[in-house]
């Protein structure tokens, strides 16, 4: 099942990912996104890709 990985050193807290997919990610107290689940079901894959593509810095990736 796909997992969402956040590179905290690259993230600029633009908020783009949790604006497009608030169900999958939520900001922590530093405004860095945290995935709302360890793993996501297969049917969320497209939504996950949507969040990954919204990121201006390439800080999000999907791992299997």
């Amino acid at each position: 099942m796909p997992r969402l990985v956040v590179d905290r050193d690259t993230c600029m807290s633009s908020g783009q990912c949790y604006m497009v997919q608030p169900r999958l990610l939520q900001p922590d107290e530093e405004d860095i996104p945290v995935p709302t689940a360890e793993e996501f079901p297969e049917e969320d894959r497209e939504a996950l890709m949507d969040a990954v593509h919204a990121c201006p810095t390439g800080a999000l990736s999907i791992q299997e």
């Binding site: 600029m12 807290s13 633009s14 604006m19």
Partner: protein
């Protein structure tokens, strides 16, 4: 050519935008009147469907004024920015490519590239602009602001633009890039000449000087990039050069383009955030009082300034193929512009949007764009604005506008919105 000339053609006669409503006559982004007070006509446009077409310099242009539509445009994968995808004779290529702009080079900047080329280049600069990296610059930015305030010490009237808003961003970025101390005065001069020529696109003399400054700047970067390759330091130019060396990732041309962009994208914009923001604040004496009582509100005040009076009016994309834009059929290769300044005042998203209120919570705006082109310098610009205004309010116990806000001198034209001058009457804090 003036805007009136442009309007003599019928934009909706173009089959690619057939059937779209015309923008009302008051919508003329090239005019000073529009820039000075765009909000009434934008409200009309939002209420009248939010999708209009007008005849711009280089053909018909669709303009979106509702938040949802502007945001969707910024994230859409069916539009592009890279002008090389247009036909070779398309007039929209002119001015963006190197023959017209000496700071541009054979390589387009990330601002004019689409995924995946954009992402590869942007990845190399992101780290210098993360919240943590920018936070580390705080003491230095404060020092620069204090130094600039020292230069106007003793005066009871100052032009905020000239004293702080224009020079501060230029100094900060040149230090980040790693311009050598002995070159900084010259570098600042070039940057200011460039900003001044951007400020007045109608002044040919300024344009000529701006062009010469761009050329000199490029030659300078050319030399410094070569030096840093020999002896890298801790600065941003070295970081770009090292990234280039490691995986053959940035070519020399790409490095020069990136440096030009870092310099150009952040100067006028941050200058205008400072100017527009302070004008809005000082036009609302009750808000100034709130800030004097609770100085920790400054970060939130800067967010409200970004929403209420954004430096960039809007940003454009081009349709890759025929499609529906905000529910309206639009053909291929049509310019579509998202009005950020309008979206920020869409009552569907922002409560009581015409009220300037630095105590709002959850301030939302599209002033830094959205999606993959979301402003690289957003954290830097926010910090520069907050720190500069904090130092200003620390230095002076009383700050007032020396002009009637209704008489403020706005610059005309282009995608930027900012002031020519912002005269202030100030009282220096005693014992501070």
């Amino acid at each position: 050519m003036t805007a009136t000339d442009d309007r003599t053609q019928d934009p909706a006669a173009d089959p690619r935008v057939e059937g779209l409503r015309h923008a009302p006559g008051g919508y003329d982004p090239t005019s000073v009147d529009y820039v000075a007070d765009p909000h009434e006509v934008l409200r009309q446009m939002r209420e009248d469907g939010g999708v209009h077409v007008y005849q711009a310099h280089q053909g018909p242009r669709v303009v979106l004024t509702r938040w949802a539509d502007v945001e969707a445009l910024l994230r859409s994968k069916d539009v592009f920015k890279d002008v090389r995808k247009l036909a070779p004779d398309d007039p929209r290529r002119v001015g963006v490519l190197p023959d017209e702009n000496p700071m541009a080079s054979a390589a387009p900047s990330i601002l004019g590239l689409d995924a995946p080329e954009h992402d590869r280049l942007r990845r190399l600069v992101n780290r210098a602009f993360t919240p943590r990296a920018v936070e580390a610059l705080t003491p230095r930015i404060e020092e620069i602001a204090d130094r600039l305030l020292d230069e106007v010490a003793g005066q009871d009237e100052i032009d905020f633009m000239e004293a702080l808003a224009i020079p501060l961003p230029v100094i900060v970025i040149s230090e980040m890039l790693g311009v050598d101390p002995e070159d900084r005065a010259q570098f600042k001069q070039w940057s200011l000449t460039m900003v001044n020529s951007d400020l007045r696109p109608d002044d040919h003399d300024r344009i000529r000087r701006g062009r010469a400054a761009r050329q000199a700047m490029r030659a300078y970067f050319d030399r410094v990039v070569a030096q840093r390759r020999e002896a890298p330091g801790e600065d941003l130019i070295s970081a770009l050069v090292l990234a280039e060396e490691e995986g053959d990732r940035l070519t020399h041309e790409e490095t020069l383009t990136m440096l030009g962009l870092l310099l150009n994208a952040g100067n006028l914009t941050t200058t205008d955030l400072l100017g527009n923001g302070l004008l809005a604040l000082l036009s609302h004496p009750g808000q100034v009082e709130a800030l004097r009582e609770r100085p920790e509100l400054m970060a939130n005040a800067v967010e409200e300034m970004l929403r209420y009076t954004p430096p960039v009016l809007g940003t454009g994309r081009t349709t890759a193929h025929p499609q529906e834009v905000a529910g309206c059929p639009v053909g291929q290769h049509v310019s579509v512009s998202g009005s950020v300044i309008s979206a920020n005042r869409d009552p569907e998203v922002v409560e009581d949007p015409d009220r300037f209120d630095i105590t709002r919570d959850e301030i939302r705006y599209l002033s830094f764009g959205g999606g993959i082109h979301f402003c690289l310098g957003a954290n830097l610009a926010r910090n520069e604005a907050r720190l500069t205004l904090e130092r200003l309010f620390h230095r002076y116990s009383d700050i007032r506008l020396a002009v009637d806000p209704a008489q403020a001198e706005w610059r005309g034209g282009g995608a930027f919105r900012g002031l020519e001058r912002l005269p202030l009457r100030v009282t220096t804090r005693t014992g501070g």
